[in-house]
């Protein structure tokens, strides 16, 4: 059975990717993921903000007490570097790319326009097979117009594309006025792949302490519907590859994403929850399902349930059908 896949122009042994997560913070972790069978590893994201904060903190801590006392001019060896966060990431990327025989993809979350291109170039030089732009932008300012937000995404893609020759994927938010048009514009701007979607990590509220609680929760299969819908809608309409992410727990979610039209499926939560070896469970399940259904290659599976290009009537019909079914079953007749 053939699980080989093409994503961002890269040849992969299968369509399962390790999404950015703490599992890829060490070379050992990347080795484990590759050993468990994934087709490629997307490293944890390099957060520019975090690197800057760390650098500022180090720059403040290292010279503490300098030239304060007669007997000690400094307290750390001169070799203690104060700005290492990016180097650390790049060294990991370099070592990981050497250590495994599957593509290693770098991931960036920048805050300044120039940083995206600069870090992308550095990742390419360190051996990244591709770069994933983890664009996490919450426009809380009511004066920011939708077009500005979109242009910001396009500007980042243009800058990065002009700086690197390796493929570039864009991990984007589902919240645009016209998500399909945004996908189309990113495609035209040169994005080699779209990763659907970034999860916004909304804070919760603790009623007892009266405090906002930042919370990172692992995704669940209930969250699969949104990316699944958009992958089904975008399949066949873009040049760029499509990667699905969010909500993968077992082989079922992998299969659903492929049927909707995803080129590859990324998983972080399930691998964190069950360990890197869970990749084998996902792939074995896909394999078994394909055998049971009589599929020999993924091309036969991919996009079987995508919305056809003239599917606008169907989109509306699906919606009406869904509501009618709901009325007649569990939820009463109040719709």
């Amino acid at each position: 059975m053939d699980l080989t896949t093409r994503y961002l122009g890269l040849e992969l042994r299968n369509p399962l990717l390790a999404a950015p997560s703490p599992l890829s913070r060490t070379v050992g972790g990347v080795r484990q993921l590759a050993g468990a069978g994934v087709g490629a590893v997307v490293l944890y994201s390099l957060f520019e903000e975090q690197i800057r904060r760390e650098a500022e903190q180090n720059a403040q801590l290292a010279p503490q007490g300098t030239e304060t006392y007669a007997e000690s001019l400094t307290y750390f060896p001169a070799t203690v570097d104060r700005e290492h966060g990016a180097h650390r990431y790049l060294r990991l990327l370099e070592s990981a790319a050497d250590a495994v025989d599957v593509p290693v993809i770098g991931s960036i979350n920048g805050i300044t326009p120039d940083s995206w291109a600069r870090y992308a170039r550095s990742m390419q030089d360190a051996g990244a097979a591709a770069v994933e732009l983890n664009i996490y932008y919450l426009p809380g300012d009511p004066h920011i117009q939708g077009r500005e937000v979109e242009d910001r995404h396009l500007d980042i893609v243009a800058r990065v594309k002009s700086a690197v020759s390796v493929p570039v994927a864009v991990k984007l938010s589902p919240f645009f006025s016209s998500t399909a048009e945004m996908a189309q514009r990113l495609d035209e701007a040169g994005a080699d792949g779209l990763v659907l979607f970034n999860r916004f990590l909304q804070p919760d509220i603790d009623c007892e302490t009266l405090a906002a609680v930042p919370g990172v929760t692992l995704s669940t299969p209930a969250e699969i519907r949104l990316p699944l819908t958009w992958i089904a809608l975008l399949r066949g309409r873009l040049r760029a590859s499509l990667a699905a992410t969010t909500g993968v727990e077992g082989p079922t979610e992998v299969i659903k994403y492929l049927l909707a039209g995803a080129d590859v499926v990324q998983s972080a939560s399930a691998l964190l929850r069950h360990g890197p070896e869970h990749a084998g469970v996902l792939l074995d399940g896909l394999h078994a399902w394909m055998r049971r259904k009589g599929y020999c290659t993924l091309d036969e599976v991919r996009g079987v349930l995508a919305v056809p290009e003239d599917g606008s009537a169907r989109e509306r019909a699906d919606y009406v059908d869904a509501l009618r079914d709901a009325n007649s079953t569990a939820y009463g007749s109040t719709w």
Partner: protein, 385 residues
């Protein structure tokens, strides 16, 4: 710190770095033992902020008395402190001899009370001071030369508390031979090691207390030898009181260890974790970091009390819980560890794994010792106690 905070400190306004991890231990020492203290201070941070002449943070109480303090050379501080002990003991013997010889003239009952007075509790020490005040008023009954001689040694009839204080550069390295000598000597001296795990005063050079994986001067690529276990080394003698404390993790255990060490009639050593600017931390979070040092197993809290062995109990007491946070959760907050992870992540990863292994092994050793019966530990062979 229950029971100590209402006691007057005789150590105030030291010129140490803001947030220094050492000074709280010295303040506590002065609160607990006050004007009975005789301190031999090794050269290092504590000798600089402790005696930045012409000023000194060691101060007087309302009676005008204060701790005796002096600074020795780096390499002979333990012997210097032992000398203080011998001098104090000689003065005490001299005073007792003079009292005994002039028992009738001074009043037999008062003299007997003074010579036989217990002096462990604060109330007992206070009563002894009152007796000595009464005795002072009777000195004119004696020949003038005898009275002058007795007056010069009278204060030594209140039990002296000799403390030998220094950092890890002194205790683990430069003064290690002398420290070993005085611990093996059996005399009643107390040692306080203000352990910053690095030479602080001279600017962050590694000592034998610097942990595996830490970056320090002379170990810029990360230290590749584990830190010496000074506590176990001292325990090996069997008749040395030993404690490892961290005020930020368990202040009551620190208080108890100080009291037990001082009360023990023999050599005592208290090894006190002291955060430092050379760790690369925000000093206002120093006590939180002490807590993490203990919670990760980097700095287990323990006491070894030979008195328990003498009463048929296990002398090794493990005072901290089993490690409950990974070592990295403690270490990644300090630049001395983090910088290696930045400059050489593979080496940092290797050394961290070895450090974790070493800490796990030490914990098992301590746990095993804490569960052994008293007969597994040596008896105190001294007769003259």
């Amino acid at each position: 710190m229950r029971g100590a905070q209402f006691l007057q400190p005789l150590f105030e306004f030291p010129g140490a770095c803001a947030g220094c991890g050492e000074t709280p231990y010295l303040k506590l020492l002065s609160q607990l033992f006050g004007d009975r203290l005789m301190i031999a201070n090794a050269t290092g941070c504590s000798s600089i902020y402790g005696g930045n002449l012409p000023t000194t943070p060691w101060t007087t109480n309302t009676d005008g008395r204060w701790p005796a303090w002096s600074n020795s050379l780096f390499e002979d501080n333990a012997e210097f402190g032992l000398g203080m002990r011998l001098a104090a003991d000689t003065h005490t013997q001299q005073a007792r001899r003079l009292l005994t010889g002039n028992r009738d003239a001074l009043g037999a009952e008062l003299v007997d009370d003074i010579l036989g007075a217990p002096q462990l509790r604060e109330s007992e020490l206070s009563a002894q001071r009152q007796r000595l005040a009464a005795l002072g008023a009777r000195l004119d009954r004696l020949d003038r030369a005898v009275a002058d001689e007795l007056r010069s040694v009278l204060d030594h009839l209140v039990r002296r508390s000799v403390w030998i204080v220094g950092g890890d550069g002194w205790a683990y390295d430069i003064g290690a031979g002398g420290l070993d000598h005085i611990l093996a000597n059996g005399r009643n001296v107390n040692v306080l090691v203000l352990d910053t795990e690095v030479y602080s005063n001279t600017g962050g050079q590694m000592s034998k207390s610097t942990p595996l994986d830490a970056v320090a001067k002379f170990a810029a690529g990360g230290k590749t030898m584990p830190r010496k276990d000074l506590a176990l080394q001292a325990i090996a003698y069997g008749n040395v009181y030993v404690a490892q404390v961290a005020m930020g993790a368990d202040p009551q255990q620190t208080l108890q260890a100080f009291r037990e060490a001082e009360a023990y009639d023999g050599p005592s050593i208290v090894i006190a974790y002291s955060h430092c600017i050379a760790h690369g931390i925000e000093m206002r979070h120093g006590l939180d970091q002490q807590y993490r040092a203990v919670a990760s197993g980097h700095w287990p809290l323990m006491r070894y009390d030979p008195m328990l062995r003498a009463t048929g109990k296990t002398p090794f007491l493990l005072d901290s819980h089993r490690p409950r946070i990974p070592l990295i959760d403690y270490r990644h907050r300090e630049l001395r560890f983090r910088s290696l992870a930045n400059s050489d992540p593979d080496e940092a990863e290797r050394l961290l794994a070895l450090a974790q292994e070493s800490i796990d092994q030490r914990w098992k050793t301590y746990e095993d010792m804490a569960s052994r019966g008293p007969h597994h530990f040596p008896s105190d062979a001294r007769k003259d106690r």
